[in-house]
């Protein structure tokens, strides 16, 4: 039954940044939802407030983990949940990153802002299976150093490279400033033999994909996660359309060969 939320108990809620928190959930009763794959999303219901799509940001030990940025009524209510409280969960929904089909290839993970959340379980999976893939490069863009997610984990992701750039920073920032694509020069990958996973604001996705195409990564090996308004996640409400795609069903992860012509049309 994918239309009715299943109660999950909040077992953890920690701050990532001033407006973003990571919430951990375990099923209340005996029944749990089917396992989520990296790139898939859940519909999270804050009691009496509403329901929103949120990607899975971690899957370890059967704990359903989400990183949520408070931007409106529902996301703020979800950031505010206390351990022990109940949250309604539906899912899993959507296409995943489909890591299996990238076996043996170099991997390029490019994230902008909260877009790092859906990429985290993908990176964790790659790191836990070191010989399954080629080189792992993780490129992270954030607004400011204070907006950086998962700070403690980044070091372990450099196989061989994990870089961070910010839009703006105070004088104490020793890292890079600028758009995320500027990090590409430090990454090591063989373009035609690389699979890229990109999530972030749409302008960032387009700019990143353009640069990757330019460097010779084939469009079908650039996987992007797209965002549209979603109400049902079951293909029934019509809200998540992007031309021929129902993004709750055919997405959110889409090959750039399909996404590019659609994103090129204004207001599609």
């Amino acid at each position: 039954m994918t239309a009715v939320p299943l109660p999950y108990r909040v077992v953890g809620n920690r701050a990532e940044t001033t407006d973003t928190r990571t919430v951990e959930l375990l099923p209340v009763g005996d029944g749990a939802l089917p396992a989520f794959r990296p790139g898939q999303f859940a519909m999270l219901y804050a009691f009496g407030v509403g329901e929103i799509p949120v990607s899975v940001a971690g899957l370890r030990d059967g704990v359903l983990t989400h990183t949520i940025r408070g931007v409106g009524a529902v996301s703020r209510a979800l950031c505010a949940v206390r351990p022990g409280a109940h949250v309604g969960v539906r899912g899993p929904f959507g296409t995943g990153w489909d890591l299996a089909t990238a076996a043996g290839r170099d991997l390029l993970v490019v994230a902008g802002g909260i877009g790092l959340a859906p990429l985290r379980p993908l990176v964790q999976a790659v790191v836990s299976m070191p010989h399954r893939h080629g080189r792992l490069n993780v490129l992270i863009g954030a607004r400011t150093p204070e907006d950086l997610l998962y700070r403690d984990e980044l070091e372990g992701w450099a196989r061989p490279y994990c870089g961070v750039t910010v839009d703006r920073a105070g004088t104490d920032w020793r890292g890079q400033v600028g758009v995320v694509t500027t990090l590409l020069d430090q990454a090591t990958f063989t373009p035609h033999d690389t699979t890229a996973f990109v999530c972030g604001p749409e302008v960032m996705i387009r700019a990143t994909a353009r640069e990757l195409l330019h460097r010779g990564v084939p469009a079908r090996h650039i996987r992007v996660s797209l965002e549209r308004n979603m109400h049902c996640a079951t293909g029934h409400c019509g809200h998540c359309q992007l031309g021929p795609l129902l993004l709750c069903r055919d997405g959110p992860v889409v090959g750039y060969d399909r996404a590019q012509p659609l994103l090129a049309v204004r207001e599609l």
């Binding site: 109400h231 129902l246 204004r266 599609l268």
Partner: protein
Amino acid sequence: MTAVAVPPDADSPACVLDGEGVGALVRELRARGRTVIGPTVRDGAVVLAELESADELPYGWGVELEAGHYRIRRRSDTAAFAHSAGPQSWKNFLHPERVRQWSADRGPDGGVTVRAERPEPTSFAFLGVRPCDLRAIQIQDRVMTGGRHRDDAYEERRSGAFLVLVECTEPGATCFCVSMGTGPAAQPGYDLALTEVLDSAGHRFLARAGTARGAEVLRSLPRRPADDVTRTRAREDVEAAAGRMGRTMPPVDLRALMADSLTAERWDDVAARCLTCGNCTMACPTCFCTTTEDVTDLTGDHAERWRRWESCYDLDFTHLPGGSVRTSPRSRYRQWLTHKLGTWWDQFDSSGCVGCGRCLVWCPVAIDITEEAHALHQEALDRRAGGKDEAP
């Protein structure tokens, strides 16, 4: 999901019901516990409503239709089904405007229990389903129950519904089912199909069953074997109707036309007229889009999820925290038309338009889907001709 189909004419040869036979049909369906919904005249329109008897059918009423115009008018005969689509469609019953999906309670310990809404057992009989509207029902079936996730409440209402189709003998000026391949003759999917015949030999219906349960109902009605005159007359009337369509679509692959037209200039022209009121989407028998409402009672410990129809013309439809995706009327009209005629194929493997004409009739500014499609086709031809001229 639908009842078992039997070959027509197998255990239920076509037969003839006299005028009173429809009365017996309504009585029989009601006696079987069904809520009979059919056309009836109310407030100056032929609406769909529960019928207690066949006397409530719109005998002797026709409709006068044009883009932006609807009026009922007296006919010179007493035909019951000589009117085309009214303001509602069967989706008002199968996919109602507002439904509760579940409710939830929060206990003193903060624990939440969620109860799925048990779909009320319904047992509809729809009397007077037009061939185009039967296709519209089948299109909504694909959307609501044909994919990975099924809408159980829809399924419940749909599988319980007994469909009495009536072939079209009186198309409206806004009809184009022939272009869309959906009418005016019956296509499979009905329980019973009727063709209304009115001539010097009297008012009668050629009837045949499409399912075992249809055949069973038919056997319980006063009827006589179909005679050649009635058969011929019925066939000729439906054929004549096919030749009297008020509208056409351009005779091209509409899906390809839409895919090619995303940057057409015509969208600016229609956007200058469209009020983005969404009437077309409410009237359309296939439009399925909905939004959700989460409500709580005064205690704050009882919450409900409601789903209600929403229109892709609403500015909020594409709301994202950073602003809506489709803000211009141009992009919203384009979304509607390209979805109906084009991308619906990609999503659900069928057209989203059946040619019923409701969207033109109920548009306050008379925007005509067929006229827009013809204009886009013309623009595509001009574009191609222009392209050729530029070539060496």
